[in-house]
């Protein structure tokens, strides 16, 4: 079968390997472009949020490229995105595009369903159970290595002496990981990619501002959906960390790693009822970034995203109590970058003033 999936940052490198090594053909989803957006906007309900429209556009594009199925995810908690794959399915049917949607629910929520779907793909691809386990393990190793390299790039970029060097280095490094075929090769590729980044000429004296990026998963993960915000800030000399990495829950070196803990962190601010999507996360992550000495936080929210709107109205209290500035960017169809650029420049000015006056060290928190 020809299989595709939603594009989210660099993760396509790992998922491409997974699809191909389960005995299928992979249609690599193109980076979301104006065309993707046009298609999505044309066929999606007007009120749907931007992730829905970009995904629909992507599905149409991959269907035109010959894909027969897309593997996607279900949703989490009370957020309409949980129903999106169903709507995508109906819309594609209406358009007579023969694209099958295979929605994976979170394995932790419904392990049985998750396994059933994976196993079906395995049998269809004609690989053994043992082989499947090996393939999953290698895919996971790729996901982790890609994240390691990307995390490092966001630390290197604000220190680079010549604009663009880090981007060239990470692209070259990811190509090694793309080419790696087993765990040993992935290990080597990861090392090589990291050392490429470490060789980027840097100003070691520079002490960049640190900004945490939080918000709805799709717009946080896909640079084309968030005006390449980490690149933009990096090139303005700001180090960024984002709250969501696909490999985050299995690692300790990201600021935000244990999903379960986030609810207890956020509880003082929303005790009565949890909100879905990544709303609770956004509240908790603001606190975590403050505790870790970040200078500020940028919240990325699809326009009309209910969970992020709820979070946005709670965040000013968190921001005051933890003394950390938060800037919310609502993301919709606009592709002009000037607005984002202006807001980020002003936000960086604000953070720099605070740092110069020693304001951000005013309060000390216990971890």
């Amino acid at each position: 079968m020809k299989i595709s999936f939603p594009r989210m940052g660099y993760s396509y490198i790992a998922f491409k390997w997974l699809v191909e090594n389960m005995g299928h053909e992979c249609v690599v989803p193109p980076e979301p472009s104006n065309r993707t957006l046009d298609l999505g906007v044309r066929y999606a309900p007007e009120f749907a949020c931007i992730p829905f429209k970009i995904l629909l556009g992507t599905y149409i594009e991959v269907a035109q490229m010959g894909a027969q199925a897309v593997i996607t995810s279900g949703g989490m908690g009370p957020c309409r995105a949980g129903y999106y794959w169903v709507m995508h399915k109906y819309l594609l049917e209406e358009m007579n595009l023969p694209l099958k949607i295979i929605a994976m629910e979170m394995p932790l929520l419904n392990l049985g369903d998750f396994w059933k779907k994976i196993d079906l793909l395995r049998r269809d691809g004609g690989i053994s159970l043992k082989e499947l386990l090996r393939v999953l393990k290698i895919t996971w190793a790729k996901v982790k290595s890609i994240d390691d390299v990307e995390i490092r790039s966001h630390q290197v970029r604000p220190r680079e002496l010549k604009r663009g060097e880090t981007t060239l280095a990470i692209n070259a490094g990811l190509a090694f990981i793309d080419a790696a075929q087993n765990e040993e090769e992935i290990r080597e590729a990861r090392q090589e990619a990291l050392s490429l980044l470490d060789r980027v000429p840097c100003d070691e004296q520079r002490q960049p501002l640190k900004i945490g990026i939080i918000g709805e998963i799709y717009v946080v993960l896909e640079p084309a959906a968030n005006h390449y915000i980490q690149l933009l800030l990096g090139e303005m000399g700001v180090e960024t960390d984002r709250s969501i990495y696909l490999s985050a829950y299995a690692r300790k070196n990201t600021i935000v790693n244990l999903e379960g803990d986030l609810f207890s962190v956020a509880r003082p601010y929303l005790n009565e009822a949890p909100i879905g999507g990544h709303g609770v996360n956004s509240i908790a992550e603001t606190i975590l970034y403050a505790r870790h000495g970040f200078d500020g936080v940028v919240q990325l929210a699809p326009f009309s995203c209910i969970p992020e709107i709820v979070a946005k109205s709670i965040i000013p209290t968190v921001s005051r109590e933890y003394d950390i500035p938060v800037q919310t960017l609502f993301i919709d169809e606009q592709t002009g970058r000037a607005g984002v650029q202006t807001r980020m420049e002003a936000f960086v000015d604000l953070l720099q003033w605070r740092r110069d006056r020693g304001i951000h060290k005013k309060k000390v928190f216990s971890l």
Partner: protein
């Protein structure tokens, strides 16, 4: 010759130029319509300022702000390029002692800036929708055949402002039309619109911000007395409109130029005679990789002076 600083703010609707002295005194100012032609407008504005002031004033620093700030900086040879939020904050804190809140409404955007001890501690800008900005007011004024300058006068005469939906420009317009077709008088509708815009601003841009006095209202829209009154009514305290409210961004850019030149030592200002220089922008699509970046080139006469827009830095170029 008086040594002075030039500030240029090129926004979507207006282009403002000011010259301030070392001590911050306003020596000259120009408020022009951008009319979608920023390059030409800046050239004309600089030329006009030169005719007024070049014989008595020597420009020893210049700065740009507004949405065309980068483009403008290449035209005039700016010493500093700053976003309009910072520029407005700098200007207001120089003009009004201990300012705590800045309400700024321009042609396409509106913002709130919160300051403490002269530094910005928080700000917000309208996102996604331009409801409640100058362009919308312009549009409604022309629909009602009222010159925008008289809009405030109509609002002042209202006895019983009509309630108009303020969340969205489209909702507001249809609500206005419904009320107008019921026979409400124009004054009450105009005043109702001002109140709706203030409500929208407070619920959208001002949400979650602690608004403390002194409050300064600046930007082109601050000329509208109807809005000033509506803000006072909503907030319950005085709102200050500074005398040069419509050119505050440019004033901020001039102050920033003063600081920048102290660091740099000398100005890059190209002089007042820009009239005969041909500035133009061209672009091409890079085929180096799948990103297909649109690379923009900026020419002064036939010399390429800047190139940008590529994500990888391959084409990037800045002369001078």
């Amino acid at each position: 010759m008086i040594q002075a600083y030039l500030g240029v703010d090129v926004g979507s609707v207006s282009t403002n130029l000011v010259i301030i002295s070392e001590l911050g005194q306003l020596l000259a100012s120009k408020y022009m319509r951008t009319n979608g032609r920023p390059i030409q407008t800046v050239q004309e504005g600089i030329q006009a300022l030169g005719q007024e002031a070049a014989s008595q004033i020597e420009i020893i620093g210049c700065g740009t702000t507004g949405s065309a700030r980068y483009l403008t900086s290449m035209i005039i040879g700016a010493d500093v390029v700053k976003n309009e939020i910072t520029a407005h904050a700098i200007a207001a804190s120089h003009e009004i002692e201990d300012v705590r809140t800045i309400i700024e409404i321009g042609g396409q955007d509106s913002k709130i800036i919160i300051l403490q001890d002269g530094i910005v501690t928080d700000f917000a800008m309208n996102t996604v929708c331009a409801a409640g900005t100058g362009s919308f007011l312009d549009q409604q004024a022309s629909r009602l055949c009222i010159p925008i300058e008289e809009f405030g006068g109509y609002a002042a005469k209202a006895t019983n402002p009509v309630r108009i939906a303020g969340r969205c420009a489209v909702f507001a317009e249809s609500d206005m039309i419904h009320k107008q077709q019921l026979g409400y008088n124009l004054e009450d509708i105009v005043a109702g619109l001002c109140e709706a815009l203030v409500r929208n601003y407070m619920n959208n841009v001002g949400k979650g911000k602690e608004i403390m006095a002194p409050v300064v209202f600046q930007g082109g829209v601050a000329a509208n007395q109807g809005l000033v009154r509506a803000f006072k009514k909503y907030l319950g305290f005085e709102v200050v409109v500074p005398p040069y409210h419509d050119v505050m961004g440019a004033i901020g850019a001039a102050y920033l130029a003063r600081e920048a030149v102290k660091r740099k030592g000398r100005t890059g200002f190209k002089g007042f005679n820009l009239e005969n220089i041909n500035f133009r922008t061209t672009s091409f699509e890079c085929r180096g990789c799948s990103n297909a970046c649109e690379v923009v080139q900026f020419f002064e006469n036939n010399n390429l002076i800047a190139r940008w827009g590529d994500r990888c830095g391959k084409w990037e170029l800045q002369v001078g």
